[in-house]
Subunit: 456 residues, 2 copies
């Protein structure tokens, strides 16, 4: 059977196998199971940092699974894994379902993992139906989407889109919190050394030119509270908010905690504390977010006032311009705070900013959004409520996703499903098997619809 | 010649050898030289953490030097090294000059080191003069005075005074900042394992009963601005301010930085920032100090709101009661700040306090203070100013010293000399060779005076 031969009703009836999806998903979580929070065997979080030994194991499993589905495998220079189930037209690029298998250090079982596993399940379903597509259908696992180990999120889809230079990505060092894990190497790894170490430094150039796509669809948990608190089932993601990641350094002066009056200090940590309080005020005033996830104070002794503090700053907002405004205001305010601390001794603190990552706001592609929207309505039609359409909502993503970068080169959109309490980047992150299956059925249909659309 | 046979004028004329003192002091700083800040060979700071390889080397040198001066050596269970030059009365305990050879991670060449080296020089001077004392005269190097590697300051004089249990000290773990140094062992060392590792786990019980003293004198740089800004030469230390060291834990909730509104956060690091700002306000309001030297935020990822923060808090004040008041007020305020963060989601942060170290305010012994005062006036009489007595001032110590603990068991007092800009716990900490020699001459005379006094 060929996708183009299906009736509209047949497409709308496509569903994944809920049990198999759940089974495969939790099977893949055996590598890197994290903090336990409940009694069920699957009641744990995940700690599968990018390019760790656990990441290697799940990658090996992913490749074997896709080979069993007769997919062609490509591994590129960033360790991105592309698995393609060929379509009838061998020369046309495949439509991809993509996301990531890496997690936060205290992450959950759904962020990213659901996206890749929905792709696996979609291909299993097509395979057992004997469904043939016009173009191929692929599943891609992007490397280090989280930016948790190597502090640039979506870096490997960024290189693929030729928005981030390969050398910058290869040279990127892991963050100190990871470098200090007991299992860490003595010197911090770079992405390149880590790729080599686990055998995933592929030889195919990491570029949309070498591994082209027709389109990119991504299923993800919302990671926020909107769907779950409105009792809605599917989010049709139309856009992604803007964000910028900075590394800041405050330089003050080490001195004795017991003998140095406050007026005689250039306390880099005190300056930090004031900056963090200010950052929330300024961001909130513009409907944006500002967050610090990493902090290091030196020299790190109870009775020495820290003379140096470095920290990460993550600013987000619905418009690129708003993020720029928050940044501008904070640059001014932080300078002021730094100048005040140590002024009494003529040795004010200084603050230095480094921009690590800049992701402007993104709008997804109308064709893809339409495929997702139609599919979402078709899938939620199963629900026993009067107005099933109200179960679907258009939504903006607060988090970044690899779809941000694929959207720069190919038609892209995303599907959100609700997660408990809107909680993510936490071991208790949870998405029910029903919601996982709903999302996977939507992406299955969306890919089929896109395949039908692209050749007519 | 016997101390009791000297005239008052002969005692007042005693001086150390300035050049030899400077030479020995900088010679001993070859082990653990730290950050360079100037061109001279001695223009570096020190990084000689307690019980490190560098500490081992300087200890070996110290013991050999004292053996060459015909001293008897005792090493106790805390690695304290007692070197005694016997006096005429073999059964009487010695009068000690003591301080420490360990430093801060970014420390200088004078804090502690000057105190021990002034003892070495005093004994060299006595030796070359052929001066015999009634009781013995000793030099003691106390282990881990700084509390920088093992986060309880003066811990080994504390065990000696039987104010801190040996087992607590032996089990104390090094701080994470040290444990993460490239040279660190894979698991954090305890004091006991570190003592064993460098061969300084002695067999003599660490107690004032096993290694008794007649008195304890300590020379130290002021580490604060009073002497230097008043152009004074010697501080006669009459008292030490109170301090308490705490470890605090804030427990919030990990969550996504991009998708979690401020009202939905229990951001442990944001709570910390508010607490640190508050701590300065409260302490300043009572003429006290409050400082944070160590901070750790978990999980340590740019895009995860930290769900756990731990930090050190050092509260000091001139009266024990004032420190208790600051603590009490901060306990209330920190609870309030924690409760507010996460209240919106019914998951407020919690804050837990652990008291690591409590050092009430101390008054030194009148007899010792008198010896120091007389000696100080005698030594500064060399100066070419009209009122040489104005060069000496009574002073309270802002920092803790091993003398705090010796004062619990034996007559004790201290001598301060000025240091540049009042700066300490910093590589550029500096005390001129003149000021070092002035202090060492004062301690030499003070010990001789005490020896004369104790047997009349
Ligand atoms: N979805 C997700 O958590 N991506 C990580 C990048 C980000 O911080 O938004
Ligand atoms: N003198 C000195 O720095 N001692 C360390 C103990 C303290 O923090 O006061």
């Amino acid at each position: 059977m060929l996708t183009s031969e299906l009736s509209e009703a047949e497409v709308s009836a496509l569903r994944v196998d809920k049990e198999r999806l759940a089974e495969d998903l939790h099977h893949s979580c055996q590598w890197g199971s994290g903090i336990r929070w409940g009694d069920e065997s699957t009641d744990t979080g995940m700690q599968r940092l990018a390019l760790s030994e656990e990441d290697k194991s799940v990658r090996n499993w992913f490749i074997q699974t896709m080979k069993d589905l007769k997919c062609d495998i490509t591994v590129d220079e960033m360790g991105n894994i592309f698995a393609v189930r060929p379509g009838r037209r061998r020369d046309a690029p495949a439509t991809f379902i993509g996301s990531h298998l890496d997690t936060q250090p205290t992450g959950g079982r759904y962020d990213g993992i659901l996206g890749v596993l929905s792709g696996v399940e979609a291909l299993k379903r097509m395979d057992e139906m004997g469904l043939e597509t016009e173009g191929g259908v692929g599943v891609v696992n992007w490397t280090n989407e989280e930016g948790a180990r190597f502090p640039v999120s979506m870096i490997s889809s960024g290189v693929w889109a030729e928005c981030i230079p390969l050398s910058k990505a290869h040279d990127l060092k892991e963050v100190p919190t990871v470098a200090s894990l007991p299992t860490a190497a003595s010197a911090p790894e770079t992405m390149k050394s880590a790729l080599k170490k686990i055998g995933y430094l592929g030889s195919v150039p990491c570029s949309y030119k070498s591994t082209p796509m027709a389109a990119h669809f991504e299923l993800h948990i919302e990671q926020g509270p909107h769907l779950v608190s409105a009792g809605q089932r599917v989010g049709v993601v139309t856009a992604v908010q803007a964000y910028r990641w900075f590394r800041l350094n405050i330089i003050g002066r080490d001195t004795h905690t017991g003998t140095t009056a406050f007026e005689h200090r250039a306390d880099a940590l005190y300056a930090f504390a004031r900056m963090m309080v200010r950052a929330r005020e300024v961001a909130a005033g513009r409907g944006c977010l500002a967050s610090v996830g990493i902090i290091e104070a030196k020299p790190g002794s109870v009775n020495t006032v820290p003379g140096e503090v470095s920290f990460s700053l993550d600013i987000r907002g619905p418009e690129t311009e708003l993020v720029a405004e928050v940044e501008e205001e904070l640059r001014r305010d932080f300078d002021e705070i730094a100048a005040a601390e140590g002024a009494g001794i003529g040795k004010p603190c200084r603050v230095e900013w480094t921009l690590d990552f800049d992701s402007p706001a993104v709008k997804f592609h109308d064709n893809c959004i339409e495929c997702v929207q139609q599919s979402a309505h078709a899938v939620v039609a199963d629900a026993s409520v009067a107005d099933t359409k109200s179960l679907v909502r258009p939504i903006m993503s607060g988090a970044g996703h690899d779809s941000v970068f694929t959207s720069k080169r190919v038609p892209t959109s995303m599907i959100f499903v609700p997660c408990k309490d809107g909680l993510s980047h936490h071991p208790e992150e949870f998405c029910s098997a029903d919601d996982c299956a709903t999302g996977a059925s939507v992406i299955l249909q969306a890919v089929v619809r896109y395949d039908r659309k692209r050749f007519t």
